[in-house]
Amino acid sequence: MDLITTTAAVDAAGVLLGGHGSPDHLSADFSARLRRARLGLIVALTGVVMIFVSFSSAYVVRKGLPTLDPQSGTLVHDWLPLQLPSFLLVNTLVLLVSTLTMELARRQAAREALATEISRSAVATTSTSPKEAQRMPWLALTAVLGLSFLAGQWLVWRELAASGFYVSTNPSSSFFYLLTATHGIHLLGGILTLIAASAAYFWRRLAESRAVVVDITAWYWHFMTFLWVYILCLVKVAH
């Protein structure tokens, strides 16, 4: 009997870990919630994609657009290439590392949901509790890395402003501030969710609920990392 419930719980974790666990065996409520939350996330990310598609097309159009120069009365290109601070690379590295820690946090939350499921179903036969001592704070670490990324972006903005590029200076700088700010706001949403999920651990909220939140925040986070790399490519192609 133990074996059967353990298999079911392993399946549950399999779904979370991206394996091929069959959803038929798990606690129906949990797998339904996970599926629904992931579906909702995919739909939400489609909306986010449309926002960045709009900005990208505006970027490409505006960059290639000749404008009237009032002095000479001729059409000129007024797009000034932006000297991007090299500090951006450090930020990118921070975000890439954070997406790794986020993935580790996701797997950790999945394992904890699995452990809860096992201990709940096997409570009569065994008395071993999940090891708490070696628990790595991956979630908190990800949140800290995310905040460091945002702080780094702030430094990048400061550096740009110091070199004379403000929001309204040139379309190139307008777009740079716009894209980084929009991305930053989206990432901030992820960070707030991470903080809430970390807090939920200390409030002893149900491991399964936490696992669902952490799971879709992780996919959201990975997407934000991908989006950042895309934005970087977009503004780098300008050179």
Binding site: R33, L39, G40, T46, G47, V48, I51, A58, T67, T217
Partner: protein, 581 residues
């Protein structure tokens, strides 16, 4: 985002609320949220209607002094038309059919206890309500409401000093639109997830009522379109307040350089209409789904060509994203591009015609029951055809250059997008009122309302086509100053009187709505003898929609007059029909 994630927790069974605030104000129940959306739209439609009345009065008595308002100045006329268009398109045509009836009936029709993310659902309503308050606030700030029309073309919309109303009023307008986009995106997320993930056992996609299909497709359009409008609005806000030049080229106002250079006003037009054209279908698709539903119920016949209806709606939705350029034929676009947009636009005529002929096929030789919802559904088909037929004219770039910005366009879109969709809302109200409020609406008042509305709207909007062909431009506030328009003033006068009568007729509806809530005849659980799941549950439905048990679906949504069946309708939850017929 974050809210959506946590809302997933509450998706299953949130207990019935006990406090008044949780029950009626910050409710998680999709039925209460649906009614909240409906009353928001009802408030908005009366505000929008009063604005249109003021415009009609000003057009024929331009120097009249009105109580409270005094004389309407030309710039006031422009702000009236801006606010009329914005309020009607966003807070009525987008809000009532989807947010109102979709919220209330999508979960019940697919056999779900609630929307997928109830907290998100509540949030999307309150964000939309906040957007409406911000929009109305634009009337009461220094300079008043904006002048730039509901399409908000820059540079007019992007410069604070472009006119009265383009200061704080226009900022509030942009902020309101952005908030509305957020609400609409959250709502679309909920509708799509609910439809895909929460259907009852046996409710396959191809057993969904066409209303559910229309809400589902509308949500997809909303998801793809509102993000683009949100982006466009952010750029506009930056141009207005942060000195950027996304849209504003080198312009002077009263001889002064405005401080921008190099921006492209056409960029706004592209982004706006990439949203704006799908928006037309966001307004009309739910009405199409509802019309299909009602024609089948009240003809006692299955819908003609269910699959064709689904594929027609899908292709209308798809093509809707390919045709935004037909709003920009006048912008100096390449004739080749214009040709492509023109062909794509006319292609939409095909699925539209499929739907129309299927509606006719549905009522053909049916046993028609001319109830008030049926009358409004038939009125919808009439308006859809009358308004749609001028579409292929406007889709021709050469004709459009003549007709663009004339009353011809105003007549076209009011019939097909405005009034047709409003008739859908009326039909839905008369049809579902018994389920929502437990009583029937008064049938004779409903008939008066129908005939006054139908004749009235034709009397207002049909003559606009003639005005347009005669070269009468829209947005002109004072007709007495232009010689070539003098001959058209009698027609304008006729339209204004028609508007008086039509608007008076709407108060019959308002009275009927509130009177019937209190004094209407008690409704049974299935007063229309319809087949879909909402009619299996009690009237009004309990908190979890089905009182503890979940429905199991065995039949399609339109099993009327089935040979050999005991009644002339077989409900979706009835035992399965034999495959023989």
């Amino acid at each position: 985002m974050a809210t959506g994630e946590f809302a997933a927790h509450a998706a299953h069974a949130h207990a019935a609320p006990t406090s008044w605030i949780r029950k009626y104000v910050f409710s998680l129940d999709h039925k209460v949220i649906g009614i909240q959306y409906y009353f928001l739209a009802l408030t908005a439609v009366f505000v929008g209607m009063i604005l249109s009345l003021l415009m009609r009065i000003h057009l024929i008595w331009p120097t009249a002094t009105l109580p409270f308002l005094g004389e309407i100045k030309p710039e006031t006329y422009l702000s009236l038309l801006t606010m009329h268009g914005t309020i009607m398109v966003f807070f009525v045509l987008t809000t009532a059919p989807q947010g109102g009836f979709g919220n209330y009936f999508l979960p019940i029709q697919i056999g779900a206890p609630d929307m997928a993310f109830p907290v998100l659902n509540m949030l999307s309503f309150w964000v939309t309500a906040l957007a409406f308050i911000v929009m109305i606030a634009a009337f009461f700030v220094v300079g008043g409401a904006p002048l730039h029309g509901w399409t908000g073309y820059p540079p007019l919309s992007a410069l604070q000093s472009a006119g009265p109303g383009e200061g704080l009023g226009a900022d509030l307008w942009v902020i309101s639109i952005a908030l509305f986009c957020l609400g609409a995106l959250m709502s679309a997320l909920n509708f799509i997830t609910t439809t895909l993930d929460m259907r009852a056992k046996g409710m396959t996609m191809m057993r969904m009522p066409l209303t559910c299909w229309s809400w589902f497709i509308t949500a997809i359009l909303g998801l793809l379109a509102f993000g683009v409008l949100l982006s466009a609005g952010i750029l506009l806000l930056l141009d207005r307040n942060a000195g950027t030049s996304f849209y504003v080229p080198l312009v002077t106002i009263n001889g002064q350089l405005a401080g921008h250079k190099g921006g492209s006003p056409l960029l706004w037009q592209h982004l706006f209409w990439f949203f704006g054209h799908p928006e037309v279908y966001i307004a009309i698709l739910p009405a199409m789904g509802l019309c299909s539903q009602l024609l089948s119920v009240f003809s006692r016949k299955p819908i003609f060509g269910y699959k064709a209806m689904v594929y027609a709606m899908l292709s209308i939705g798809f093509l809707g994203f390919m045709v935004w350029g037909h709003h920009m034929f006048m912008s100096g676009m390449s004739p080749y591009t214009a040709f492509a947009f023109s062909v794509m636009t006319m292609a939409i005529g095909v699925p539209s015609a499929i739907k129309t002929f299927n509606w006719l096929g549905t009522i053909w030789r049916g046993r028609l029951r001319f109830t008030s919802p049926m009358l409004f559904a038939l009125g919808f088909v009439s308006l859809f055809v009358s308004g749609g037929i001028s579409g292929p004219f406007l889709a021709q770039p050469v004709l459009d250059i003549q007709l663009h910005d004339t009353y011809f366009v105003v007549g076209h879109f009011h019939l097909i997008m405005g009034v047709a969709s409003i008739f859908g809302i009326f039909a839905a109200t008369y049809y579902w009122f018994p389920k929502m409020f437990g009583r029937m609406m008064n049938e004779s008042l409903a008939r008066w309302h129908f005939f006054i509305s139908l004749i009235g709207t034709y009397a207002i909007f049909m003559p606009m086509h003639y005005l347009g062909m005669a070269g009468h431009l829209r947005r002109y506030s004072q007709l007495t100053e232009l010689n070539y328009l003098h001959g058209l003033v009698p027609l304008q006068t006729f339209m204004t009187y028609a508007a008086f009568v039509t608007i008076a007729g709407q108060f019959i509806f308002l009275f009927n709505l509130f009177w019937s809530m209190k004094f209407g005849k008690k409704a049974s659980d299935n007063p229309w003898e319809a087949t879909t799941i909402e009619w299996t549950t009690t009237t009004p439905p309990p908190h979890d929609n089905f009182g503890g048990h979940m429905p199991v679906v065995n039949n399609g949504p339109y099993e009327y007059s089935v040979p050999g069946a005991p009644r002339d309708y077989v409900m979706q939850t009835d035992p399965p029909l034999a495959k023989a017929h």
